[in-house]
């Protein structure tokens, strides 16, 4: 198979690969109709249609994926497309962004969509007291101007080449101006499906909006029903017995059983979800770059992918930029387990052996304690004695992460490089879990600021590649593995060839992109 897309490809079974290789058409034409029933985890009784609170798949798929729209959206292949915005352009310093909005769009209650809706929806995230997860994004806006009924201008405090990407964030949904409270209570958006019934933490039913602006190319189901199923065995049973047509998060241990069922297809999507071991680089011995290098060679990445992810993932190269990112440096030489190299760097650091503690808990990621023990065994061969401290899951993120010098952690990854770096690698930000700053790499921090406002994608790529190289060589976070999204669908469901890898379930947009074949 040739390279299909720079953002990774879907491996949905051998059959698809064979078909692609023989040049036969991969799919039938999308058909209309039917009721898609999907079983998903991540629903809560406190769920609502307020995008500011969304954090897990169930509500993202229901809100952004069905009922609401953003200004822009990220397509399955990773390219940026307009949703409620038709086009946009930036000033040369990437500080002023003008969005031309789509005309003739109406909300589910009949109100016409325009510039006021955008401005008021963005304002929801601001304010002293706002705890919206999108506040850091919206806060970068200095001023919002309504240039016309269907034109909005954003003036940013500093240049950001990623701005149109950032407004596709699932928190920044567009609500009808003046009716936001009502819209949050009833779920009134501009999306492909309007709310028929919604029971928080239990289920959501939506019906296709007739004459939607997305036309015939999207939203093929007449109705969708999302059912909250938190238990993975129950989800699997529901799919196997035909109670639902699609489920997310397959339990790796029972995946073989699903595979054996001819009515079920597994989707395996490489993505940015990463399991990490951050060390505080301002605390001895992790302040020494040679100690960090020794640890990089002392961890057996492949073994972790094989034993912790049971093969459902890829090895990491100590950068948080994964296959779902635009400027993923895939050609960088892969770090591999090498106890001799580890010993060498330990000696460079002036040490014969090293005694450190590694804090882990299942709260960090499933299998974190096992992973820590694998690390302990592999590092032991290089004279690095790791003592695994099993921490309680309760309060792990308050008492261990960012506090203990070496611990286990996870990140779900971010859509853009800048977003990821400025969340966890920029000097001084609260979630910088390796205390990574100028003393470690002034060059990295300089590149971070430069690339942010760089509109030229070639030179921007070089900058992000260099940053990934720095992190690989000297960084304070071990990223041994990226865990795939593994989900399953009934063989009745048809999907496009490329499945989105920013979020589970085709970027949570299965209601928009899939169909019954």
């Amino acid at each position: 198979m040739t390279r299909i897309s720079r953002r990774g490809l879907l491996r949905s079974g051998a059959a698809a690969g064979v078909l692609a290789a023989t040049g036969l058409p991969l799919r039938a034409q999308a058909k209309k109709g039917g009721r898609l029933r999907a079983g998903m985890n991540g629903a809560n009784t406190s769920d609502s249609w307020d995008g500011r609170t969304h954090s897990d798949l169930f509500m993202i798929a229901s809100a952004q994926g069905s009922v609401f729209d953003n200004l822009t959206m990220i397509a399955a292949d990773g390219s940026l497309q307009g949703e409620l915005a038709e086009s946009w352009e930036a000033s040369s310093d990437a500080k002023t962004w003008t969005f031309n909005l789509r005309q003739g769009v109406t909300f589910h209650n009949g109100k016409a969509f325009g510039a006021d809706d955008v401005i008021e929806s963005f304002q929801m995230h601001l304010g002293e007291e706002s705890k919206s997860a999108a506040k850091p994004i919206v806060e970068t806006i200095e001023e919002m101007k309504k240039l016309g009924e269907h034109q909005v201008q954003f003036v940013l405090k500093a240049g950001s080449a990623d701005f149109p990407y950032l407004v596709s964030d699932y928190h920044i949904l567009i609500y009808p101006a003046g009716q936001i409270e009502e819209a949050i209570q009833q779920g009134i958006g501009t999306g492909l499906y309007s709310v028929v019934s919604f029971e928080p933490g239990v289920r959501f039913v939506g019906r296709r909006v007739p004459d939607h602006y997305k036309g015939d190319t999207a939203g093929h189901f007449d109705e969708i029903e999302y059912i909250a199923i938190n238990d993975s065995t129950a989800r699997m049973n529901a799919l196997m017995t035909g109670q639902v047509d699609a489920i997310n998060r397959i339990d790796f241990k029972t995946e073989a059983l699903l595979k054996a069922n001819p009515n079920v297809m597994i989707q395996e999507v490489p993505c940015n979800q990463q399991y990490t071991f951050p060390m505080l680089t301002d605390i001895s011995p992790f302040d020494q770059v040679n100690v960090r290098k020794a640890l990089k060679y002392g961890i057996n990445r492949q073994e972790m992918v094989d034993k912790i992810l049971l093969g459902h993932g890829v090895v990491g190269n100590d950068t948080p930029i994964g296959p779902a990112n635009q400027y993923y440096h895939g050609e960088m030489e892969q770090l591999a387990y090498d106890p001799d190299q580890a010993k060498f760097y330990l000696k460079e650091a002036g040490l014969d052996s090293l005694d450190i503690e590694l804090s882990a808990s299942e709260a960090a990621f499933t299998g974190a304690v096992d992973a820590a023990q694998l690390f302990q065994a592999s590092a032991g061969a290089a004279g690095i004695n790791i003592r695994v401290v099993q921490e309680p899951s309760d309060g792990y993120w308050s008492n261990v992460w960012l506090k203990k010098p070496f611990c286990a952690c996870y990140w779900s990854g971010r859509a853009t490089e800048d977003w990821m770096f400025s969340t966890a690698y920029e000097a001084g930000v609260p979630w910088n879990d390796s205390q990574w700053d100028e003393k470690d790499s002034a060059r990295f921090q300089e590149l971070l600021v430069m690339a942010r406002a760089n509109l030229d994608s070639d030179s921007r790529r070089d900058q992000y590649f260099e940053m990934q190289q720095i992190l690989r060589d000297e960084g304070g976070v071990l990223v041994p593995m990226f865990a795939n999204y593994v989900q399953a669908i009934s063989s009745k469901v048809g999907t496009p060839d490329t499945i989105g890898n920013l979020w589970q379930m085709d970027n949570a947009r299965m209601a928009e992109r899939w169909w019954f074949s």
Binding site: D50, T53, E129, E181, V202, T233, D394, G395
Partner: protein, 329 residues
């Protein structure tokens, strides 16, 4: 009957005292767990400022004793309060309509009662019949078979029974749905169909206890002189058991039934999870997970009330069914 009325009043008063003690114990226990609502809800985002802000908003920074009495005052006025999750949501997002604990629990509780009702409607007659038949044909192959079956089902973990039933009734022979996601506005027949698998699972769990108690209570009486008298009169064995032995054996049987019904209301979270049944157990476990004290307290009060009322009913029934207790000398 005056004495029965007095007993009821006494027991109800004692019950209220029990509820008070339960609420103190639960409140203390949840407070002693590591982590609190702020840390649990923020997860990876628990910066000290964010944790402090939530604690301030919810009053978690106040003295626990004060917080308890605040809550107790609300309950005495009939107000179970608002869950932390909802309060936090409101603090974050400005004024939106708030759901109280009572309005969140009500639909879940009625689902739980429905499941308990369906289970009881199957399990109680079945276990009584099995118990009576086992007593009648004691030590026969039927008796042993029934014992082995019910004892092995009570000894298996609930989720295992659930999966066995799913395998036979949903996967191999697709008769019943494996998902029991009932919702408001569903017709009774469909609701019943979807509730059947979890109800059957729970039936398997509770039958052994009730059946064996029925059998034992009856067999114990069969040695008494008045039963021998009845037999000597030539009455058929079935009639001896149903007419003469069973009424006198009712007290212990009713007690066991009450205990099992209380279990059906309070302890079926595993079955709820396996069948995705939106009952109160799942709500309770979620609340404990995020240390949502008002919700935990409300659920515990409901559970404790169920135990107290069902035990009370059992006691009253045994008094009513026993003339010696009804007319004490």
């Amino acid at each position: 009957m005056g004495s029965v009325g007095k007993i009821i009043l006494q027991r109800l008063a004692l019950g209220l005292l029990t509820l008070l003690v339960v609420s103190i114990v639960i409140f203390t226990a949840v407070n002693m767990l590591p982590g609190d609502f702020a840390e649990a809800i923020l997860g990876q985002g628990a910066t000290p400022e964010a944790v402090a802000a939530i604690r301030r908003d919810l009053g978690l920074d106040q003295n626990p004793v004060m917080r308890y009495f605040d809550w107790l005052g609300g309950v005495l006025r009939g107000d179970l309060g608002t869950s932390f999750a909802q309060l936090n949501f409101q603090a974050n997002m400005g004024a939106t309509s708030l759901q109280t604990v009572a309005s969140q629990i009500a639909p879940r509780f009625s689902n739980t009662m429905f499941l308990a009702g369906v289970t009881a409607a199957i399990a109680v007659p079945v276990s009584l019949a099995l118990g009576i038949l086992a007593a009648l044909y004691r030590n026969s192959a039927f008796d042993k078979g029934a014992n082995i079956f019910t004892l092995s089902s009570i000894s298996s973990p609930e989720f295992f029974l659930a999966y066995v039933l799913i395998l036979f009734l949903a996967v191999l022979n697709p008769i019943l749905p494996s998902l029991s996601n009932i919702y408001e506005g569903m017709g009774f027949a469909e609701r019943l169909e979807r509730t059947l698998l979890p109800a059957l699972t729970l039936t398997l769990v509770v039958t052994a206890h009730m059946m064996r108690m029925t059998r034992a209570a009856i067999i114990q009486l069969l040695a008494s002189p008045y039963i021998e008298m009845a037999r000597l009169k030539g009455i058929s064995p079935m009639r001896v058991i149903v007419r003469h032995a069973l009424p006198n054996a009712l007290a212990p049987i009713v007690n066991v039934i009450a205990l099992n019904l209380a279990y059906l209301i309070t302890g079926v979270v595993v079955v709820e999870v396996v069948f995705v049944y939106p009952g109160i157990g799942q709500l309770f476990v979620d609340a404990v997970k995020i240390r949502d004290i008002p919700m935990v307290q409300a659920c515990c009060l409901i559970f404790a009330t169920a135990y107290i009322l069902l035990n009370l009913t059992a006691d009253i029934l045994s008094i009513v069914s026993n003339p010696r207790l009804r007319h004490p000398k």
